[in-house]
C-alpha cells in the first residue's frame, strides 16, 4: 500500500546541516495500523510529511500503491489529521468535511449523505451546522477525523492527533480513529507520544537518530 525506501532529509540551520532522517524504510500494508513514536525533534512530523508527499526527501522514494506520491494524487489516496485541527473557520462542520470531497469535484447528494454519516459516526450528528469556533477541541478533532475519511482513502496519516486534547478526549479520538480505520479497512499511520495509544496499534515503531530503532 505505502512504501518508503531510503528516506533522507536534512535541514540547514545557519551554516550547519542537521540530518533529521538518515535513510528510513517503511512499508505499510493495506488495512494495517502502524504507530510511530520517538522523542520530540526526532523527525516524526518530517517523516509523515514526506510520506504524504507534502515535502520532498533529499534522497529516497515514497510510493503509494506502486506509483510515486504526488500532490495531485493526495486528495484521493490520503487522509491527514494534525495536532492542530486546521478546520476552515468560515465553514460549518459539514462543509469542512465536504471540503475534502470538493477537491475531487462538486459534491452531490451522495457526498453530503456520506459527510453527514461520517459526522454521525464520530458522534457529531447534532453538530453538523456548528462553526469551528462553536465546537470544543475534541469535537473539532473529530470533525478533522471525519474530513480525513471523507474520500474513503486507503491510508490515513495522523500526526499527534491527541496533542492538543486532554487525556480522556484524546483516548476517545484515538479509539475512534483506530475503530473507523479497522471498520473501513483503511491503513493508518499514527504518530504519538502516548504509550497506551501505541499499544492499541497493530505495529509500533520507534524513531531514533534518524532511523527506526
Amino acid at each position: 500500500m505505502l512504501r518508503a525506501s531510503g528516506l533522507k532529509k536534512s535541514y540547514l540551520s545557519g551554516d550547519r546541516r542537521i540530518e533529521v532522517l538518515g535513510g528510513v524504510d517503511l512499508a505499510v500494508m493495506a488495512g494495517e495500523s502502524v504507530c510511530i513514536r520517538g522523542e520530540s525533534g526526532s523527525g516524526k512530523s518530517t517523516l509523515l510529511n514526506l510520506l504524504a508527499g507534502l515535502d520532498a526527501p533529499d534522497e529516497g522514494l515514497v510510493e503509494w500503491e506502486g506509483t510515486e506520491a504526488t500532490a495531485d494524487r493526495r486528495a484521493r489516496h490520503l487522509g491527514m489529521v494534525f495536532q492542530s485541527f486546521y478546520l476552515i473557520p468560515e465553514l460549518d462542520a459539514l462543509q469542512n468535511v465536504l471540503m475534502a470531497a470538493r477537491m475531487l469535484g462538486v459534491p452531490g447528494a451522495a457526498e453530503r449523505k456520506r459527510a453527514a454519516e461520517l459526522l454521525a459516526r464520530v458522534g457529531l450528528a447534532e453538530r453538523t451546522s456548528h462553526l469551528p469556533n462553536q465546537l470544543s477541541g475534541g469535537e473539532r478533532q473529530r470533525v478533522a477525523v471525519a474530513r480525513a475519511l471523507m474520500n474513503a482513502p486507503r491510508l490515513v496519516l495522523a500526526d499527534e492527533p491527541t496533542g492538543n486534547l486532554d487525556e480522556r478526549t484524546g483516548d476517545a479520538v484515538v479509539d475512534l480513529l483506530l475503530g473507523v480505520c479497522r471498520e473501513t479497512g483503511t491503513a493508518l499511520v499514527l504518530v504519538t507520544h502516548n504509550a497506551a495509544h501505541a499499544a492499541k496499534a497493530g505495529r509500533a515503531l520507534f524513531l531514533h537518530g534518524g532511523r527506526f530503532a
Partner: protein, 409 residues
C-alpha cells in the same frame, strides 16, 4: 462550482456572519470610484453633446465654401440639393467689422442671414430674445447678448458699423460713411465666444457693407437625421464645380472637438486612479488575509490542492469584490445622475451659488449623456483592476509551501 470559487465566496461572505465588514468596505471603495467615473464621464459627455449641438445649430451639418466668393449661390444650392441626404441649405457670408457705440469700439463678426432659408438649417428663432426673425430688415441688426452688454446699448438705439472696405475707399480718396444700424434684438446662443462676437444682419446688408455684390461666402447645409456628415460631404464634393469644397462640421471643428475629447479622457484617467487606489486597498486586505490564513492554505495543500487552485481562490476574491463594487458603483452613479438636478439644487442652496452656476454654465440643468461605450470601458477597467489587485495576494498564497504553512505559528 470548483472548490476555490466556493471557498473564495465563503471567505468573503462567511456563514453565520450577518454583515461582512471586510468585504463591504473593499466593495465600497471600488463602488465609489466607479460611481465617480460614471457621473463625471456622463457629465463631461453631456457638456460635449451640448457643445456639438450648438456647433451644428450655428454652422449646419456641412459647410460648402469657395476659394473666393460664390457668385451664383442659387445655382450652387440647386446643385447641392440634388445630393441624397441633403435636406436644406442656406447662404452665408461673414466678415470682421468695427462697431462703434458712443466711445466704445469693438470688433465682432458681421454675419449675413439668408432670411428665407435659414430656419431650415439653423434654429435661429430659438436663440433670439425680444425679437423674431421677421423683425430683421435691411437697416437693423441683432447683437449677441454678451456684445450687447459690452456695448451697453439698448434695443432701439443705433450702432455704427465700419467694414474693412472703407480702407480701400479712403486710399482711393472716396469718402464713405459708416453704416448706421438699429438694434432690433439680441441673440443668446449659450457659447461665450459666439455671444461676444456675433452681429446678424440681412444678407443684402452684409453684401452691401462688404461690397460683395450678389455673391456670398458659401452654403450651410442640413442633412437628414442619422446621415454621416463626413460621408455626405464626400458625396457633395463629387458634384461641386472646381474651386468649391464641402466639409462637415466634424472636419471644420476638428481641433475643438479633439480638445473636448482630450479633456474627457484626462478626467477619465484621473478618476480611474480612485479605482486603482481602491484596488490597492483590496490587495492589502487580501494580503493580510493570506498571512492570517497561512495554516489553512497549508491544510488545503494537505487536502490535495495545487498552488494554481490556491492562487485562483484569492484571485477570485479580488474579482468578486471588483464585480460587486462595479455593480454597486454603476447603481450609485446612475442614481446620482438621475437625481443630479435635485442634488445640485440642494447644493447650490447650501452654498448660495445658484446665480453663479447659471451665469457661468448657461445651463440651469446639468447636462448628462451616458453612452454604453463609456459604461463598458468603466466596467472593464474596474474589473481588470480588481483582478490585478488579487494577483499579488494570489501569488503569495501559491508560493507558500504546505509544510511550512502548516508549521507556521
Amino acid at each position: 462550482m470548483p472548490w476555490y470559487l466556493y471557498l473564495a465566496l465563503k471567505q468573503l461572505f462567511p456563514t453565520g456572519r450577518r454583515f461582512p465588514f471586510f468585504t463591504a468596505i473593499s466593495i465600497l471603495g471600488v463602488a465609489l470610484g466607479v460611481a465617480l467615473l460614471v457621473v463625471s464621464t456622463s457629465v463631461m459627455a453631456g457638456f460635449g453633446h451640448e457643445i456639438r449641438r450648438m456647433i451644428v445649430d450655428t454652422q449646419g451639418d456641412v459647410q460648402v465654401r469657395a476659394d473666393g466668393l460664390v457668385a451664383d449661390s442659387a445655382g450652387l444650392a440647386a446643385t447641392v440639393a440634388k445630393v441624397p441626404g441633403v435636406v436644406a441649405s442656406t447662404r452665408f457670408a461673414a466678415g470682421l467689422v468695427q462697431v462703434r457705440f458712443g466711445d466704445k469700439r469693438l470688433y465682432p463678426t458681421l454675419q449675413g442671414v439668408d432670411i428665407e432659408h435659414i430656419n431650415g438649417v439653423i434654429p435661429l428663432d430659438s436663440y433670439l430674445r425680444r425679437a423674431t426673425l421677421d423683425d430683421l430688415d435691411d437697416d437693423s441688426v441683432f447683437l449677441g447678448i454678451k456684445l450687447y452688454d459690452l456695448l451697453g446699448a439698448s434695443i432701439g438705439e443705433s450702432i455704427d458699423v465700419f467694414s474693412p472696405m472703407l480702407l480701400d475707399d479712403s486710399r482711393a480718396d472716396v469718402v464713405t460713411l459708416p453704416r448706421s444700424l438699429k438694434i432690433r434684438g439680441v441673440l443668446e446662443i449659450g457659447h461665450q465666444a459666439l455671444d461676444e462676437s456675433t452681429l446678424l444682419v440681412t444678407m443684402r446688408t452684409m453684401q452691401d457693407i462688404y461690397k460683395l455684390g450678389g455673391a456670398t461666402k458659401g452654403l450651410n447645409l442640413k442633412l437628414a437625421d442619422n446621415e454621416d456628415p463626413d460621408a455626405a460631404a464626400r458625396r457633395i464634393n463629387a458634384v461641386l464645380p472646381p474651386g468649391v469644397h464641402a466639409a462637415s462640421w466634424l472636419t471644420n471643428n476638428q481641433d475643438f472637438l479633439s480638445i473636448l475629447q482630450l479633456e474627457k479622457n484626462m478626467i477619465f484617467i484621473l478618476l480611474l486612479f480612485i479605482v486603482i487606489v481602491a484596488g490597492f486597498s483590496v490587495t492589502s486586505s487580501l494580503l493580510i488575509s493570506v498571512v492570517r490564513k497561512t495554516r489553512e492554505i497549508g491544510l488545503l495543500g494537505a487536502l490535495g490542492a495545487n498552488p494554481r487552485q490556491v492562487a485562483a481562490c484569492f484571485c477570485f476574491q479580488g474579482l468578486i469584490i471588483g464585480l460587486g463594487g462595479t455593480v454597486a458603483g454603476l447603481a450609485l452613479g446612475l442614481g446620482t445622475l438621475h437625481y443630479r438636478n435635485a442634488i445640485i439644487t440642494v447644493f447650490t442652496k447650501l452654498t448660495a451659488s445658484r446665480e453663479a452656476m447659471d451665469r457661468f454654465y448657461q445651463f440651469s440643468q446639468l447636462p448628462s449623456w451616458t453612452t454604453t461605450s463609456d459604461l463598458v470601458l468603466i466596467v472593464s477597467c474596474s474589473v481588470v483592476i480588481s483582478t490585478l489587485a488579487g494577483l499579488l495576494p494570489a501569488w503569495r498564497a501559491a508560493k507558500l509551501k504546505p509544510v511550512e504553512a502548516l508549521r507556521s505559528e
